[in-house]
Amino acid sequence: MSYLMYILLFGLVLGLVAVASNPSPYFAALGLVVVAGVGCGVLVGSGGCFLSLILFLIYLGGMLVVFAYSAAMAAEPFPEGWGSWPTLRLMVGYVAGVGVAWGLMGKFWYEEDWLGFDGVVELSVLRGDVGGVSLMYSSGGWLLIGGGWVLLLTLFVVLELTRGLSRGALRAV
């Protein structure tokens, strides 16, 4: 398990570097998908199966839409992958940065956090993540209403920015 977590965390950092090193949009979107997937794996490893499932379905579902759109909008004849020099240079730089950070901060690293929140599961009635969901619906009701309002607001904002013909903001550019 520990070995698997090492691989997943390594993939997470590498995926973030791949996104940050500024490749063409659809390679970057691919990097984001990889990061999200690996991140879900890390969550499973830390004991949050339910949370991981939610994240995978919803976030990755949205991510696939973004992926499709950016692939459609930015279909370049010669896309910049991670093999071309400007991207590769950035990528090597970021990996070196991660290495330096590891060298500086690595001595503070300790493994006790991998216990996860269900490490003491025999003492509790509910699983941690399911308990969290029920708590969110019982004592966090107003917060949910706020969240729903924010989603509605985002819808308004996006519609206002992308509405058709001459009235949309994007057409002005």
Binding site: F156, R167, A172
Partner: protein
């Protein structure tokens, strides 16, 4: 924009700030700031020209980066200390990260460069919202962080005062000058924050008054360029006569309200045995005073050659609602004698 959408956006703008004000939890505070950012974006793109879209994009990128950093700081704090309380951010790493994120939100000096660029692309009304209302929510958070070490705040504040004065030097565009003026004033507020938080509130209050009157005056004479200021006397002579006083009040000259915060801040800094910093801040605000003086010179103290008929105020009475402007202009100019009362109001 449709009235329903417009009112939804304005309500959400209020909701975001109110949410941040009311929250004690980092997550809700972050959420309020995000609502604020989202709600103002369509307002910024109301004028469909490429410059406004560019300004909006820049604003969104800067704010999104700052928000992500803020959320990261809050999560790290929860990870390290186990608490989400806003007042409990006492680990040095997270408190510094939070300070920097909020500094980017409100546009303090090393992280300020989005501010003039964004302001330049907006209408004056949106610019007014951006430089007053949008500052309130992050400011409320920055006010609640009590750092162990005031050096970060002093550095941010001093740099902002210097950059705010220096950057406005060579500008002819009013909106950029206003942005730099905003940076300089925020610098004063942050400079005094570790030593006397009530003084920060007082400075914020006077800054809101002064900025509101200046923006409203420019809105009335419909100008965004320093050259067109010189013909404003033909349009609204009374206002043109009082705008130099607003400008000098922003610059912080003695008989006007703007002197009040600067005076008290310098006094407090001297009491804290920080005389060199106080001197540097006072000298740097001379830069700001220089471009305020240039604006008042162009607007009032000089008059282009004209025939006598051209010097008469021949226009019809303007139909704008000028009551808010009248109120804030009065407070901007005449509030200094009330210093003890105001001080008692903010420090009790």
């Amino acid at each position: 924009m449709a009235p329903f959408v417009y009112s939804t956006l304005i309500i959400s703008l209020g909701l975001g700030t109110a949410m941040t004000f009311a929250s004690t939890h980092w997550y809700l505070a972050w959420m309020g700031i995000e609502i604020n950012t989202l709600a103002i974006i369509p307002l910024m793109t109301q004028n469909h020209n490429p410059r406004a879209i560019e300004a909006t994009t820049k604003y969104f990128f800067a704010q999104a980066t700052a928000s992500a950093t803020l959320l990261f700081a809050a999560v790290s704090n929860a990870f390290l200390t186990g608490g989400w309380d806003i007042l409990q951010i006492n680990h040095p790493l997270t408190s510094t990260l939070t300070t920097l994120a909020l500094a980017m939100k409100i546009g303090l000096a090393p992280l300020h460069s989005w501010m003039p660029e964004v302001m330049q692309g907006l209408s004056l009304l949106t610019g007014l919202i951006l430089s007053t209302w949008q500052k309130l929510a992050p400011f409320c958070l920055i006010y609640q962080i009590q750092p162990d070490n005031p050096n970060v705040f002093i550095t941010l504040g001093l740099l902002s005062v210097i950059v705010g004065g220096w950057g406005g030097f060579n500008q002819v565009q009013l909106r950029k000058i206003l942005a730099y003026s905003s940076i300089a004033h925020l610098g004063w507020m942050i400079l005094i924050l570790p030593f006397s938080p009530p003084l920060t509130l007082l400075t914020l209050f006077t800054y809101l008054m002064m900025t509101f009157s200046l923006f409203s005056s420019f809105m009335l004479v419909r100008t965004t360029h320093i050259n067109s200021l010189s013909i404003s006397w033909a349009k609204i002579p009374t206002l043109t006569a009082s705008v130099p006083l607003i400008l000098l009040s922003l610059g912080g000259l003695p008989p006007l309200t703007g002197f009040l915060p600067k005076w008290l801040i310098l006094q407090e800094l001297t009491k804290q045995d920080l005389a060199p910093i106080a001197t540097l801040a006072a000298l740097s605000s001379l830069f700001s005073l220089y471009f305020y003086l240039r604006l008042s010179y162009t607007m009032t103290l000089t008059m282009p050659p004209n025939n006598p008929a051209g010097t008469l105020p021949w226009r019809l009475n303007p139909q704008h609602n000028t009551l808010p402007l009248a109120l804030t202009t009065t407070t901007t100019i005449f509030l200094l004698p009330a210093t003890p009362t105001i001080l008692a109001l903010f420090t009790f």
